[in-house]
């Protein structure tokens, strides 16, 4: 099986060709401002390096920070309508109440509270009102808004109102993209609604991005299937990704940690992924990223996604090194993807961390004569500050005093010149493209989400049945049965329903077969 993994980062677009478990070739090429020509360049370069015909490629897996960055940088976000069903309840805290002002302003702060929604036991809070929703649709149309997020109280256990409202709005606004909160989130109204609204405001962008990825892949002659990686390290096909761009959030750190584990063969470690602008640190447990235990914020918005617990620090290969009166500072400002024009070693005028690494002599990059003039004390001071930032971050990411190894990956890995914090420090082969390797080896998943009556079977039997069904679903999605693991089990009792009903959700993941 031939797979191509691509990671589209802020600075570089990385690509690898893998033949089964073997990395055949890996390349880095600059991310372009239009992103897509960068992807085409990377695909061509990696096929070339692997001496591989495009027809031989079975799968292309893409990890992209595009959608996260759009939210973080508040760009390319569509004006969005948020409709919440729940009146008279929930009026105390309207949609987007806990959002940063600038993000709320960018998408327009358009929200409507409507009747509907359910109590915890399935009763209606109030009946759904078709006229009210049609009135809201008319206002949405008048404002020229084309993407809508609908949330409804208790929709994860009673989704009828949300679905019905979606149909009503779709009928009134046939051109609108509609996101239902129960499709992407769990219990916890604000967090689920936040995720739905973010998804909705990314739909315009996702249509363009997915289309552009599709064209880029077809343009180089690849006919294999194409997937995007999501935050839990598993794959979604392109059609699903277009509908649920929000599920790609945090896939980057997941890919780099999974790639680091794969390349190093080490399953428990601290991973330091050094890019152009930042370093992301996280911890690997049994080959998977440790999950954050609290609500994770994306661009300042609280969500209840399961996300890897990642700590970011402003140090990368393009970080600015500045001499000040009080000493040498490093980062957090960076030349980013312009490093190949602006860093001294590439003929530019700006002193960066990469220039320091080259000046020290251990790294062969660019033109080292361009940094020969740097004073030794500046180089030494910058190095000591870089080491200090990295060691401090590693210490933060340690979960125990146990001497775990540190795996250093990413294009900025050249900044690391020895053991960090006294720990064994590994730079695996292909370290620079670990992200892309992580995308290439991303797994497929199978989910079940069913209500069991515990009057008829024991909880253990219900869980076993749900696990078996999730496993079957993963196999149907193409997972190798021997590789399947249950990664998530959640059972939520539905109170006051006859027969002690409980909703069980299980996720199984496995390696793509072949």
């Amino acid at each position: 099986m031939i797979r191509i993994g691509i990671d589209v980062g802020g600075t570089n677009t990385d690509a690898v060709v893998m033949d089964g478990e073997r990395v055949v070739a890996g390349v880095k090429s600059p991310t372009t401002s239009d992103v897509m020509s960068g992807v085409v360049n990377a695909l061509r370069a990696v096929l070339d390096a692997a001496r591989m015909a495009p027809e031989a490629v079975n799968y292309v897996m893409i990890g992209t920070t595009h959608f996260t960055n759009a939210v973080v940088q508040r760009r390319d976000l569509a004006p969005t309508a948020a409709i919440r069903l729940g009146l008279p309840a929930t009026a105390s805290l309207p949609p987007m109440v806990d959002w940063p002002d600038d993000l709320r302003d960018v998408i327009g702060n358009h929200w409507w509270l409507a009747h509907g929604g359910n109590e915890f036991d399935g009763r209606e809070i109030s009946p759904l009102n078709e006229d009210e929703l049609n009135g809201i649709a008319a206002e949405i149309r008048a404002k020229g808004i084309r993407t809508v997020a609908i949330s409804s109280v208790f929709s994860p256990v009673a989704g009828e109102h949300e679905k019905r409202a979606g149909e009503i709005i779709a009928k009134a606004l046939p051109e609108a993209d509609i996101t239902l909160s129960s499709d992407i989130g769990r219990i916890g109204l604000l967090e689920r609604e936040n995720a739905a609204i973010m998804n909705a405001c990314l739909r315009d962008l996702s249509r363009h991005v997915i289309e552009a990825f599709r064209n880029a892949i077809a343009g180089v002659g690849i006919k294999g299937r194409f997937y995007l990686t999501q935050n839990d390290g598993t794959l979604m096909d392109a059609a699903l990704a277009e509908k649920y761009p929000v599920l790609t959030f945090a896939s980057g750190p997941t890919n780099s940690m999974r790639g680091a584990a794969f390349l190093s063969g080490v399953k428990d470690a601290i991973v330091v992924d050094i890019g152009g602008t930042t370093s992301d640190l996280g911890s690997l447990q049994k080959g998977f990223p440790r999950q954050a235990s609290i609500a994770v914020e994306v661009g300042g918005v609280r969500t209840n996604f399961r996300m890897p617990d990642v700590f970011s620090v402003g140090l990368g290969g393009g970080s600015l090194v500045v001499e000040t009166e009080s000493g040498v500072t490093v980062g957090p400002r960076s030349v980013g993807y312009r490093i190949t024009e602006e860093a001294l070693i590439f003929g530019g005028k700006i002193l960066t961390t990469s220039d320091i690494a080259v000046a020290e002599g251990g790294v062969d990059l660019g033109d080292k004569t361009k940094v020969a003039h740097l004073k030794a004390d500046i180089v030494k001071a910058a190095r000591s500050r870089m080491t200090e930032i990295l060691e401090d971050s590693v210490e933060r990411s340690r979960l125990s005093p146990d001497p775990l190894p540190v795996i250093v990956v990413g294009g900025g890995s050249i900044l690391v010149d020895g053991p960090l914090a006294g720990l064994e420090t590994i730079k695996p082969d292909h370290f620079a493209v670990a992200n892309a390797v992580g995308a290439a080896i991303a797994q497929v998943s199978g989910d079940t989400d069913r209500v069991y009556s515990l009057a008829e079977m024991s909880r253990d039997a219900a869980l076993a049945d749900a696990k078996a069904k999730a496993t079957e679903a993963a196999i149907a999605a193409g997972a190798d049965p021997a590789s399947i693991e249950i990664v998530d089990v959640e059972d939520v009792p539905l109170a006051y329903l006859p027969g002690n009903a409980t909703r069980v959700r299980v996720k199984a993941v496995g390696n793509l077969n072949g």
């Binding site: 729940g86 008279p88 309840a89 929930t90 009026a91 105390s92 805290l93 109440v97 806990d98 929604g117 109590e119 915890f120 036991d121 009763r123 809070i125 109280v153 208790f154 219990i187 916890g188 109204l189 604000l190 440790r290 999950q291 235990s293 609290i294 609500a295 617990d309 401090d392 210490e395 933060r396 979960l399 125990s400 909880r459 998530d488 089990v489 959640e490 059972d491 939520v492 009792p493 539905l494 109170a495 006051y496 002690n500 409980t502």
Partner: protein
């Protein structure tokens, strides 16, 4: 300690964090209450937090709170006027002006709800509460031990309904109010336990809202300083760490409107090879290590994320989380025979007597 302080919207962040720690696993995520209190303070101005001793003996003091299942509160947010409706209706019923707002439960969402009414009414809020933590039933307050009646009480829902209760005992108030709460959709807001300043001075567990704030500050500071946070929090609480491990199973069921369940953990660090079981009925009530009971209510059990020190509620317990369990001493009022009757293990259906946890940490 200063007798009077001003609480601004930003201060609610620390109070809510501390409230979650004192929530001992339950009491609801203070997040929703915090947002509502911040909205109220932005609209009406800051809240004056006062020491209970500053109250006149004949002052009229009224606690307000939210009642119901935490999962419901995080999903069905309040309409917004319920608490002020309950407050105003009770004031009218009592036929005199209320002088100060009180807190019944400094743990969980109710560490923040009194700020909503204090801001909206402009009345001072007593720095203290009736539990020093969170408990699941409304008679489980120190006020009950001092003979203060929970009624007259007013209970309001999101739809505009309100119920006035007059009962023969606080246990009856709990039963009737609970039934009404379930009918109201699993969560309701109320004003109750009207008391005099003199009664409040005797019954209040003092300084607990300030303690919430201090716990929140401690955690925030530990994050800023990059130091191990669980130990810092334990120091403030005078708590012992009784387990460190990873969640391997969670069983949940809802009984009579309460989220009940059991979490099982496998040991890590110095507890490697040991197992741990946490029983919760909204709050963490009993802890067993290797099959031996180590701590029970009314001693306080709280669970923090091993690395970040952030409190983890029973609701938020998930497979795979790494946690540390702390036990810390309850307010001495709970150790009286009456206190043990109200909140001891037997009340919650555990067939064991309360045995005080022997704290290693020396009291400050």
């Amino acid at each position: 300690m200063t007798k009077t302080r001003t609480i601004h919207a930003a201060d609610l962040e620390d109070i809510a964090t501390g409230g979650a720690i004192l929530g001992t696993g339950g009491g609801g995520d203070p997040y929703i209450g915090k947002l509502m209190a911040q909205e109220a303070i932005r609209k009406h101005g800051p809240v004056t937090l006062v020491d209970v001793d500053t109250l006149a003996d004949d002052a009229l003091v009224v606690p307000v709170c939210m009642m119901g299942a935490p999962t419901v509160m995080a999903e069905k947010l309040p309409q917004g006027d319920e608490l002020m409706n309950a407050f105003s209706a009770l004031q009218k019923l009592l036929g005199r002006k209320i002088d100060a707002i009180h807190c019944c439960e400094a743990g969980g969402i109710n560490s923040t709800t009194p700020f909503i009414v204090a801001a909206a009414s402009g009345l001072p809020l007593v720095d203290g509460d009736g539990m020093g933590r969170a408990y699941p039933e409304l008679q489980m307050v120190t006020f009950t031990m001092h003979g203060i009646s929970a009624t007259p009480m007013v209970l309001c829902d999101d739809k505009g309904n309100s119920i006035v209760l007059e009962t023969v005992s606080n246990k009856w108030t709990e039963k009737l109010a609970r039934a009404a709460t379930v009918e109201m959709g699993g969560a309701a807001l109320l004003a109750f336990y009207p008391m005099t300043g003199a009664q409040a001075k005797k019954a209040t567990v003092r300084g607990t809202l300030s303690l919430c704030e201090k716990l929140g500050q401690t955690l925030r500071q530990a994050h800023a300083d990059h130091v191990e946070p669980v130990g810092r929090v334990a120091e403030v609480l005078r708590a012992d760490t009784i387990f460190s491990g990873r969640v391997t199973d969670i069983e949940r069921r809802t009984v009579g409107g309460f989220a009940r369940g059991t979490a099982r953990l496998e040991g890590l660090d110095e507890f490697r090879g040991q197992t741990f079981r946490l029983d919760f009925q909204n709050e963490f009530l009993m802890a067993e290590r290797d099959g031996e009971i180590v701590a029970t209510t009314p001693d306080l059990l709280t669970v923090l994320d091993s690395e970040t020190g952030n409190p983890v509620t029973a609701d938020a317990l998930r497979y795979g989380l790494r946690l540390k369990a702390l036990v810390f001493p309850c307010d001495p009022q709970w150790l009286s025979p009456q206190g043990i009757d109200l909140v001891g293990p037997r009340y919650f259906g555990y067939d064991i007597d309360y045995r005080p946890y022997q704290f290693r940490a020396t009291p400050a």
